[in-house]
């Protein structure tokens, strides 16, 4: 791949990095990344990956922009309210960087479409708010041997883990989805807006590290932080032999759509009817 003068200028701060250079930037430009969810986490992830020049960004979300989203979903602007999130995100990505090819999927990731959609990508980023889809992403990526970044935020806390085939998966740590409504989601419990940016940019950095091969990924380590104390911790983990999907006797061998929390579905309906 030959960079134009304009591209060399655009990506100069990456190219200047000894660990990245022209070669690393080429890897970024050839990268294909799927972002699941164009919300609080998906927004900063998409913005930074677009700016970095990731060649193909797939973005999947079935929702429309709601006024209550704008407190943290920084890729959506006030005039975007009621617009499909993937369209709003695609517009901003194209404005930031016309080099990026955006594939917008205005739908939910489901057990039926997950494997087919993720197969086209090098890396998957979980930017979803709900456990059914978090487990679906994990299972699909483990089954398809696809690396991904898990991210979760709640109130003042965030956590993230990167998976590569052979390392601890999300289910190694969290065996199965919590019962619907057992654990509040952001739409129920609230979240400090900037937390989404803190965690999403960590996930974006993991994607760029993966694509360029620079540094040590957050594999076999769960990073957690609390913004009230600003304490960060990484908890070392390893693949769990009893893991239902990647353990030695897997019980999860196909994909399932787990039940959604009722109030999440209600809030979706409310958004759609607006």
């Amino acid at each position: 791949m030959d960079f134009t003068e304009e591209q060399i200028q655009r990506y100069s701060r990456h190219i200047l990095l000894q660990d990245v250079g022209v070669e690393g930037q080429e890897k970024i430009n050839n990268g294909k990344v799927l972002i699941v969810g164009a919300g609080g986490l998906g927004a900063p992830i998409a913005l930074y990956l677009a700016a970095a020049g990731v060649g193909t960004i797939g973005i999947i979300d079935g929702d429309v922009v709601d006024l209550s989203n704008l407190q943290r979903q920084v890729i959506h602007f006030t005039p975007d309210v009621n617009k499909p999130k993937v369209i709003s995100a695609k517009e901003k990505i194209n404005l930031i960087n016309p080099d990026v090819k955006v594939i917008a999927y205005q739908k939910l990731l489901t057990a039926e479409n997950a494997l087919e959609i993720i197969q086209d990508y090098d890396f998957v980023v979980d930017g979803t708010d709900n456990f059914p889809v978090k487990f679906l992403i994990n299972d699909a990526c483990v089954i398809a041997k696809k690396p991904f970044s898990h991210g979760g935020i709640l109130r003042f806390d965030g956590q993230t883990l990167t998976y590569k085939p052979g390392t601890a998966c999300y289910r190694c740590l969290f065996h199965s989805p919590p019962p619907p409504n057992a654990v509040p989601t952001c739409s129920q419990a609230g979240v400090l807006g900037a937390i989404a940016g803190m965690l999403g940019t960590i996930q974006a950095a993991e994607v760029l590290k993966y694509l360029t091969g620079v540094g040590d990924l957050l594999t076999n380590r769960l990073l957690t932080f609390n913004a009230k104390t600003m304490e960060f911790r990484t908890i070392k983990s390893k693949p769990n032999d009893n893991c239902p999907v990647c353990g030695s006797h897997p019980t999860v061998t196909g994909l399932v759509d787990y039940e959604q929390a009722v109030c999440d579905i209600e809030s979706h309906r409310k958004n759609k009817n607006k």
């Binding site: 986490l41 998906g42 190694c172 654990v183 952001c186 979240v191 070392k236 983990s237």
Partner: protein, 70 residues
Amino acid sequence: MSKISVNGKAQEVERPISITELIKLNNVAQPEMVSIQLNGQFVNRDDFDNTQVAEGDELDFLYFMGGGSF
């Protein structure tokens, strides 16, 4: 008295206790939702009652966290 660590912080327990008791002692809001790692190994939920915590043990309590889509 046994010195252990929970999520990187030192804690003392007066007598040998099970993981279930330790969860209670730490006032975990939803004990049925926490994942526990003992010295780097995940403990099956079914074993929380019969796994004892001893001097020098390092425990990690991991909690479910949603995300930011909506």
